[in-house]
């Protein structure tokens, strides 16, 4: 469904991604783990069109998308929920969600999608008319996730959705990401919370200093000595 081949990318003059390749198949949950500064966010930004790779290719549903602008990539059904949510602070919860349904095909069905999103996030329905700036950190993250689903995506990319949340909410976030399988949504998940991530991931990649160092099923990586030592502190 999503395929990256030999991606090299620069952040300013510094090379941040080195010859990266990655594959996400339909209906999978694929995780990308790694320390701060490993290049995870750069990689997602390269996929969603906020950045362009210096070389290599990105294809989605069989079409090349590297070099396209973010808005045309969303229209193809690839939704990116950026780091720290980035909700629109001076719009209400409902308006934020409506913005998520901006592509024409999603706009036509927005009332229906809104109902489904409210089912997943009942809290958002309670806060419907409130300005997003008045929400708590957890609610903002839920809003960002709900907004990302409003475009009726085939594939959702999450950039550290559990970052900065209370432990109870962290579990809630992982439960929701895991439940997207039932809605037929493929997931590419970037996280620092390695244990929870590998528990729900079908497959995972480990990224270090802009290079892929390890790849395998979630369960395999949980058992690997390397991951245990470097990320789980065992």
């Amino acid at each position: 469904m999503l395929e990256l081949n030999n991606i090299n990318a620069f952040y300013g003059k510094v090379q941040s991604l080195w010859d990266l390749s990655l594959k996400v198949e339909e209906a999978e949950i694929v995780a990308l783990v790694g320390a701060n500064g490993a290049g995870k966010t750069t990689l997602l930004n390269t996929i969603c069109g906020l950045m362009s790779p210096a070389s290599g290719s990105v294809s989605f549903l069989g079409r090349r998308i590297d070099g396209l602008t973010p808005h045309s990539i969303v229209e193809m059904g690839l939704s990116h929920i950026p780091e720290s949510g980035r909700v629109f602070p001076d719009m209400t919860v409902r308006e934020n969600l409506e913005m998520g349904a901006y592509p024409y095909h999603a706009w036509k069905m927005k009332e229906e999608t809104l109902k489904q999103v409210f089912q997943i996030f009942p809290r958002l329905e309670e806060r419907e008319g409130q300005l997003a700036r008045t929400l708590s950190g957890g609610e903002k993250q839920m809003l960002a996730m709900g907004r990302g689903l409003m475009s009726r995506p085939r594939l959702c990319m999450f950039d550290e959705p559990s970052y900065g949340l209370a432990p109870k909410l962290v579990l809630e976030v992982f439960r929701i990401v895991n439940s997207l399988r039932e809605h037929g949504i493929t997931v590419l998940l970037v996280e620092q919370n390695v244990r929870h991530t590998l528990e729900i991931a079908d497959r995972a990649y480990v990224l270090e200093n802009g290079r892929m160092v390890l790849e395998g099923s979630g369960a395999e990586l949980l058992q690997s000595d390397y991951v245990k030592k470097a990320y789980l502190g065992l």
């Binding site: 969603c48 001076d90 913005m99």
Partner: protein, 289 residues
């Protein structure tokens, strides 16, 4: 005494309507497209000359000109952003460098437009008489065109506000103002929206020019004063806040008419005093954050 107070209040509102309109326009250009358009007043001047020419040579009703002038200015602004400001945005890499460079470019634009207007229309003061008959409002007498100006300024501003609050495109504009990258991730074509915002700003200026020309003198150098007023109102209302600019326009209009009643030559001085005090005491404006 009572009549004098009504007089001051009404003339403040009448001027305030125009101030609100031009400030809402500048607010679109600076608040969303991040271009501090110093040539904003030149678009007002163009709108005014456009209306004057159509009225003087083709006898076209100035209120009808609103319908022609709006789209023409929108198109000029849109194309200007797509060509000039877009290339500045790419070459400066966005951010603070873009704000500085685009402001300098708009200074250049100010002189280009102004001199073109002098070439076309000459430097002399022009004017025409339309709906100039007096209307008595509770003992205070105003020319009818001033009242029509206020009415249309309010209608245009409210319609614009509803457009931003209710429509899909209006919401995309607000989203782009708050976080352009996130708006892009929602599927908003950012380059189109920024150009549209600049165009809408030019449209507001053009419409204000049309309305102004009915009761004020028209000349190629009239623009700068309005630009300065628009900047003051935008800061007064709070940067990037459309309702703030709207309310700020009326506040400034009222301050202007109160000061003029005491000493007519001091109104501009009062505006600048207010501007300085505001920057010192409440730089975020009344509705800004």
């Amino acid at each position: 005494m009572v009549i004098e107070i009504i007089d001051i209040f009404l003339s403040g509102l009448l001027m305030g309507g125009i101030y609100a309109l031009i400030a809402v326009g500048l607010s679109m250009q600076y608040g969303v497209a991040r271009v501090l358009n110093v040539s904003h007043g030149e678009f007002i001047m163009l709108g005014a000359f456009f209306t004057w020419s159509l009225y003087t040579y083709c006898n076209i009703n100035p209120l009808l000109t609103l319908v022609i002038c709006g789209p023409v200015m929108l198109l000029i602004g849109f194309v200007l952003h797509k060509t000039l400001y877009r290339s500045i945005r790419i070459s400066s890499g966005g951010g603070a460098a873009f704000e500085g460079n685009s402001m300098l470019a708009s200074f250049g634009l100010l002189f280009v437009i102004q001199n073109m207007a002098i070439l076309i229309w000459g430097a002399s003061i022009k004017g025409y008489s339309y709906l100039a008959f007096p209307v008595n409002m509770g003992g205070v007498i105003f020319p009818a065109n001033r009242l029509v100006t206020l009415l249309f300024a309010v209608i245009i501003s409210v319609a614009f506000y509803l457009f931003l609050a209710r429509t899909r495109l209006g919401k995309a504009i607000r989203a782009a103002a708050q976080d352009p990258d996130a708006a892009g991730l929602m599927g908003v074509n950012i380059n189109q929206v920024l150009a549209l915002c600049f165009g809408l700003g030019a449209m507001m200026a053009g419409l204000a020019g049309t309305l102004l020309s009915m009761s004020f003198r028209v000349q190629p150098t009239m623009g700068l004063e309005y630009t300065l007023i628009a900047i003051i109102v935008v800061v007064l209302g709070g940067l990037g806040s459309i309702p703030g600019s709207f309310i700020g326009g009326f506040i400034l209009g009222l301050i202007g008419s109160i000061v003029s009643a005491i000493e007519p030559s001091l109104s501009l001085v009062a505006y600048y005093m207010l501007f300085m005090i505001l920057l010192l005491v409440k730089p975020t404006g009344i509705l800004g954050r």
